[in-house]
């Protein structure tokens, strides 16, 4: 645990805030103190475009008074400031109580005292800036040295997150998480026609330290491959629209899982609590245990426990211990993501620990855990899946994504699209997007790869809520095969 964080006065502030909340009649109160250390680095071609190191520190008090939520945050690190913040939170609850027709109650959770530190080898903030910049510029120089691309951008984001949580229920936890991401994105331009194409590395964000860059993903190797891949893509034929069998790599499939399963199985959405903004879900609670979501072998889990997962924690932001559970088993919808309020309201008994706030100054929402498609028991590999396709496309890497407000109609593009003819790869295609409805798509899945093809993907910036918040989340997937999916030609989509 970072010693700077441990020296901060969070216990003293928490005690003062919770005592005041109790005095003001709170039936529930929690105090959350967070410190986030961040660094963003951007290299444009061979120039360092920006490098900003930040440290955000804030705390908040959340109360239930007279059955209504109240929340206030502050950066005044004195007991007096914490007491005043508790008073403001109680004041919010009192002011808005007459808008509240449903008294807030929470599912029970045992009191916990614990510490959690995520797995990492090298604290990314212990690495000298010069070393980081040298790595990024070196990779970009290698890409440009190929003379096959015109521009290359390398963006890196590093986060170390510390959190203290205490509640009137007696829970007191201290946590630390580290996460990193880095993307290399090259652009090739046909200066005569003005046409251009891009190609991004297949590196995926991880709950790891600097070792992701120094010994994990091989960025120099990617720098060697990207120019040729991009040159081939630029010269590739534009896809003929129609129905194709798709073999999808986890570097693309994680995002489809995120949008069409992750958000669809949020219970607050299914109940309508996000209807005005993020939307609802086609997977409504009356469909629990009877909706045929996908193929009979489809197994999707939710967890906050997997090592290196971006949503992995020891305890959530309501003091619930991390768990793992099934969301889809045997292709049937069998579970939801829960916070304590929604868990009790819908009779689930206990929350599965999906409350999360972006920072100490924001209110916890029901947020996504790691949601992952499990691999098959037969250890099929890429060749096995491609071998069963006569006329198809192999999709690698994510790019554009969009899904409707009930998580049903979606459209995704990618980084690489490889033609499959008679069980073999036959060169790249371009201008490809696949469009489907969620249950049609997952029911068209006829095979998944084995554990050797399983990759943990994810994102730092899943958005939800008002005021808007982002959350990091991972999605594991094997390579998977889908039959007769609608493929568009994006170049032909422009109106005429």
């Amino acid at each position: 645990m970072d010693p700077y964080f441990l020296d901060l006065p969070f216990r003293r502030l928490g005690e003062a805030a919770l005592t005041e909340a109790g005095r003001l009649g709170a039936t529930y109160a929690d105090f959350r103190f967070e410190r986030h250390q961040g660094q963003g680095i951007s290299v444009r071609d061979t120039s360092l475009e920006s490098m900003v190191t930040s440290q955000t520190l804030s705390y908040s008090v959340r109360v239930i008074v007279n059955g209504a939520w109240g929340f206030a945050s502050s950066v005044t690190l004195t007991p007096e400031g914490a007491v005043a913040t508790a008073g403001r939170a109680a004041g919010v609850a009192a002011t808005l109580a007459n808008l509240n027709s449903e008294p807030v109650e929470l599912a029970p959770e045992p009191a916990h005292q614990g510490t959690y530190v995520s797995s990492f080898e090298i604290d990314p903030f212990s690495v000298p800036d010069e070393e980081k910049v040298a790595l990024l510029i070196g990779v970009n120089e290698k890409v440009l040295a190929s003379r096959k691309v015109d521009h290359v951008d390398f963006g890196v984001s590093l986060v170390l997150e510390n959190k203290y949580f205490a509640s009137l229920e007696g829970t007191e936890t201290t946590q630390q998480r580290v996460r990193v991401q880095g993307d290399v994105d090259a652009t090739k331009i046909d200066h005569t026609t003005g046409a251009f194409e891009t190609m991004r590395s297949s590196a995926l964000p991880q709950g790891r330290g600097w070792e992701h860059f120094s010994s994990g993903f091989d960025y120099p190797a990617a720098a060697g491959e990207i120019p040729t891949l991009l040159e081939e893509k630029m010269a590739a034929p534009s896809v003929e629209p129609g129905r194709y069998d798709l073999v999808i790599h986890p570097s693309n499939l994680w995002l489809t899982i995120h949008e069409s399963i992750g958000h669809a199985t949020e219970l607050d959405r299914a109940l309508g609590y996000e209807a005005a903004y993020a939307g609802t879900s086609f997977a409504t609670v009356d469909k629990l245990n009877n909706l045929r979501y996908g193929a009979p072998f489809m197994h999707v889990t939710g967890d906050r426990t997997v090592e290196h997962g971006l949503a992995t924690v020891g305890y959530d932001d309501e003091g619930v211990a991390a768990q793992s559970w099934d969301l889809i088993a045997g292709g049937i919808l069998t579970g939801y993501q829960l916070n304590r309020q929604m868990a009790l309201k819908q009779g689930f008994g206990r929350s599965n620990g999906c409350a999360f706030a972006e920072s100490g100054s924001q209110v916890p929402l029901q947020r996504m855990p790691n949601v992952s498609l499990q691999p098959g028991t037969d250890d099929l590999d890429l060749d096995d899946l491609i071998g069963g396709v006569e006329n198809g496309i192999y999709v690698v890497g994510d790019k554009s994504w969009s899904i409707d407000m009930q998580r049903y109609n979606f459209q995704f593009t990618g980084q690489q699209f490889w033609r499959i003819r008679n069980g073999r790869l036959a060169g790249q295609l371009k201008d490809v997007a696949y469009q489907a409805t969620t249950t049609d798509f997952w029911n068209s899945m006829d095979s998944v790869g084995g554990p050797s093809t399983y990759v943990l993907g994810g994102a730092f910036n899943c958005g939800k809520g008002q005021p808007g918040q982002i959350a990091p989340v991972s999605h594991g997937a094997p390579i998977a095969r889908f039959r007769q999916v609608n493929v568009l030609n994006t170049a032909a989509q422009r109106a005429g």
């Binding site: 509240n100 005005a276 209110v363 422009r494």
Partner: protein, 454 residues
């Protein structure tokens, strides 16, 4: 220690060749409701200090949200240390100079609180009661933010801006969730939020929705409400970096090199500009940048901005240009400005409906993402109200669609321009508050597939 004093202390402590200090104070209040009851509500205050040191042309940037006086020296030293071992900044320019302290620089930040909703809360409670009586559900969100920024440089420049931003949006649904409508507005005070009037608009549209009409994907004439026009044009505005265009990697790049400045993109009735002093849409009249990109440069901190035309009478006349890129390209600097104005004095939406033979009336758009940067092809969904207009009247509600459309094609295919009004972009309003847009009639808007969602 006051924020202004903090900035002055930072500059005193600085040993760099140049130093920029920026301080923000944000105060916000929000309330949220769903299913005719309040959900998450709260108040928040936060502050941020960014210290940017420049040594031998190299830049070191450090940001803090907690910066007591005793910590300032370490923050400044960290910023200076961050310059070490780095290459010189490509966008290096002399810091802007100033010798006068603006009259408002000494003013303290403004704050807000839950009391800003004093009029709204009883009105909303009454609306919940009417919704229960009449059998529909209300969802929505109200947010008020008071932000103040102070900027000081070692070259004597001082700037301050304080502004309020408020958003109110309400969504009505039938209890079976099969019909849904939305209304939103931008406000700075919440005194002008007329909940009964918005309720009437929503109820009328729920009434229209009683006749449900299934239409297939295809190219349609559409009447886009101002919120839709805001979302689409903001996507275009955010793609107007001159450097990206000049380098050949933007929709505004010209085949063969250079950019499309001077090219006719749209009918002559279309003008888009930004102006920090536009009445009712006031935003900071100077640049604030904590990092550099093709859209901004830390060396442009404090650069004043004025009315800037991006499209004038259908012709592309402006691209966002940093001082550095202006020097490289021989253009004039044109900083990003936080409002977008599409001036138009055409007919009202109701008048446009009345003169329509057959078109889809689209309330708002959602989940808009770039598909192809070369054409700025966007995909997204219609949301909370697509209505069929025939022979001058709304005849029913239509299913939602996924669209694939470039905002430049939308502008080029515009047939009629309505009357501009302040509008809240349904999707991008979270990031960009102040937009004044008209409704548009557009031909051949590409609805790529049907969305069964409501």
């Amino acid at each position: 220690m006051r924020l202004q004093q903090t900035l002055e202390r930072v500059l005193e402590l600085s040993r760099a060749d140049g130093c920029i200090a920026v301080g923000w104070f944000h105060s916000s209040a929000n309330l949220r409701w769903a299913l005719n009851t309040s959900t998450t509500n709260g108040v928040s205050e936060s502050q941020e200090l960014v210290v940017i040191s420049v040594i031998d042309g190299r830049v070191g940037s450090v940001a803090r949200s907690y910066f007591p006086e005793e910590s300032l020296e370490s923050v400044v030293r960290e910023s200076e240390a961050a310059c070490r071992g780095k290459p010189a900044a490509e966008d290096l320019m002399p810091l802007l100079e100033g010798d006068e302290i603006p009259g408002d620089f000494d003013r303290d930040p403004r704050e807000t609180g839950i009391g800003v909703f004093g009029k709204l809360v009883p009105d909303l409670a009454a609306a919940f009661g009417r919704a229960v009586e009449r059998g529909y559900l209300l969802f929505g969100y109200a947010e008020h933010v008071q932000s103040t920024v102070y900027l000081a440089t070692s070259t004597g420049l001082r700037r301050r801006h304080s502004g309020a931003e408020g958003k109110f949006q309400v969504n009505a649904k039938t209890p079976d969730f099969k019909s849904s409508t939305w209304a939103g507005q931008v406000t700075t005070t919440f005194e002008d939020v007329d909940i009964p009037a918005m309720e009437e608009r929503l109820r009328l549209r729920l009434e229209w929705s009683k006749n449900q009409i299934a239409l297939p994907a295809g190219h349609y004439e559409v009447l886009l409400e101002p919120s839709c026009v805001a979302d689409m044009t903001l996507e275009a505005y955010w793609s107007t970096a001159a450097r990206d265009a000049d380098e050949g990697r933007s929709v505004f790049s010209k085949p063969g090199g250079g950019n499309r400045l001077g090219e006719k993109l749209a009918p002559s009735g279309i003008t888009l500009y930004s102006d920090p002093r536009e009445p009712g849409f006031e935003v900071a009249p100077f640049s604030v940048a904590t990092s550099s990109s093709s859209y901004s440069s830390v060396f442009d901190n404090g650069l004043t901005s004025g009315r800037t035309h991006w499209i004038d009478a259908g012709v592309l006349t402006g691209l966002i240009t940093t001082r550095h890129w202006a020097k490289v390209s021989g253009a004039e600097p044109k900083p990003f400005i936080d409002n977008l104005i599409f001036p138009a004095e055409g007919p009202s939406l109701e008048e446009m409906i009345s003169s329509t033979e057959r078109a889809l009336l689209v309330t708002c758009l959602w989940y808009i993402r770039e598909v192809d940067p070369q054409t700025l092809l966007l995909t997204g969904l219609t949301r909370d109200g697509v209505f069929l207009v025939e022979d001058g009247e709304v005849v029913g509600a239509v299913n939602n669609f996924r669209f694939n459309m470039s905002p430049l094609d939308m502008l080029a295919q515009t047939l009629e321009i309505g009357r501009s009004e302040s509008t809240l972009a349904r999707e991008l309003g979270d990031y960009f508050t102040f937009a004044k847009m008209p409704p548009l009639r557009v031909r051949d808007f590409h609805m790529s597939s049907v969305s069964e969602s409501v």
